[in-house]
């Protein structure tokens, strides 16, 4: 009986969703703002990657909120997990030679790749969040392959706090030099150059450090506990 009712509910739900989605014409631009970003984005912000110009410049305040959510999640996880530790004395099996050598070989390459992704966030696809996630997956590889190695909690907290601080301070400097929070007050430069787009690369590098260290410390907390 419960099964029939739930299937019926799902059908009604699917019907409602498809009814409302059918009204949206897919593939044709309906909003004017999207067209505006594509036409004027490069000139106004100096970033050739439109996604970055929206995420960091037009909608920079939303990104600050997003970074804050991730920060609170990492802090909460750390607070829940670090309290019960201490009994961890079980001997860890060492990884095999192939895995150990492979992860030591790959780790610097992954770090360089992640750094490239967030430094070139305003030119090529990717940015602070993507680069940070790639760096965190490099640390995950280190935890799986070279088990005796740990990241220093101090360094990770320092990178995290510095990233957040730089983001907020640059936002406030916009208030000092101009009229609103996160104003792009630095010179735009020529498009497609690495030193261009004003504050966008600085903010994305800060986000990259912040996201990378946060995700790495989440993994560190979880592995420490298990």
């Amino acid at each position: 009986m419960r099964r029939i009712i739930s299937i019926l509910l799902l059908v009604i739900l699917a019907f409602g969703i498809s009814l409302s989605l059918a009204k949206i014409p897919f593939g044709t631009p309906k909003t004017k703002v999207g067209r505006y970003y594509i036409d004027e984005g490069i000139e106004e912000t100096g970033a050739t990657n439109i996604v970055t110009s929206v995420v960091v410049n037009y909608r920079g305040f939303d990104t600050l909120g997003e970074v804050t959510v991730l920060f609170i999640a990492a802090i909460g996880l750390g607070a829940v997990l670090t309290g019960s530790g201490g009994e961890e004395t079980r001997k860890k099996q060492p990884a095999s030679l192939v895995l150990y050598t492979g992860c030591r070989l790959l780790f610097p390459l992954i770090l360089v790749f992640g750094t490239y992704i967030f430094i070139h966030g305003h030119l090529t696809p990717g940015g602070g969040f993507q680069g940070g996630a790639i760096i965190a997956s490099g640390f995950l590889l280190i935890y799986l392959g070279c088990r005796e190695r740990r990241i220093s909690q101090r360094a990770s907290k320092l990178a995290e706090s510095l990233g957040g601080l730089i983001f907020v301070v640059i936002g406030l400097l916009g208030l000092v030099f101009g009229s609103y929070f996160l104003l792009n007050f630095l010179p735009k430069g020529t498009a497609n150059a690495i030193f261009s787009a004003g504050i966008i690369p600085i903010i994305y590098i800060a986000i990259g450090f912040k996201v990378g260290s946060e995700l790495a410390s989440i993994i560190d907390n979880l592995i420490e506990e298990s």
Binding site: N49, V51, T52, I117, P125, G126, G127, F129, Q130, A133, I134, A136, S137, L140, L215, I218, I219, L222, I223, E225, S226
Partner: protein, 78 residues
């Protein structure tokens, strides 16, 4: 075009498998398959930024976190 439909099919199969499997490690791997196919699909839909985030977070980090959690609890569902 055929490849895109194959990816969508792969995502559906992975999603159904993830909910059917009793072995939770297998279910997590099936869910990672969904993420990986979604990442490739995003790339073909010309959204490389989303594809990158999906591949790094959905396929790598989430899977690892789930597996660590399963190690602490039970591997098989009753």
């Amino acid at each position: 075009m055929i490849f895109v439909f194959f990816l969508i099919l792969l995502m559906l199969v992975g999603a159904v498998a993830a909910s059917i499997f009793r072995d939770l490690i297998s279910a997590v791997i099936a869910a990672a398959l969904v993420s990986l196919a979604a990442a490739i699909l995003f790339y073909f839909l010309q959204a490389p930024d989303v594809a990158m985030a999906e591949a790094a977070i959905g396929a790598a980090l989430t899977t690892a976190i789930f597996i660590i959690a399963i190690r602490r609890t039970k591997r098989y569902e009753e």
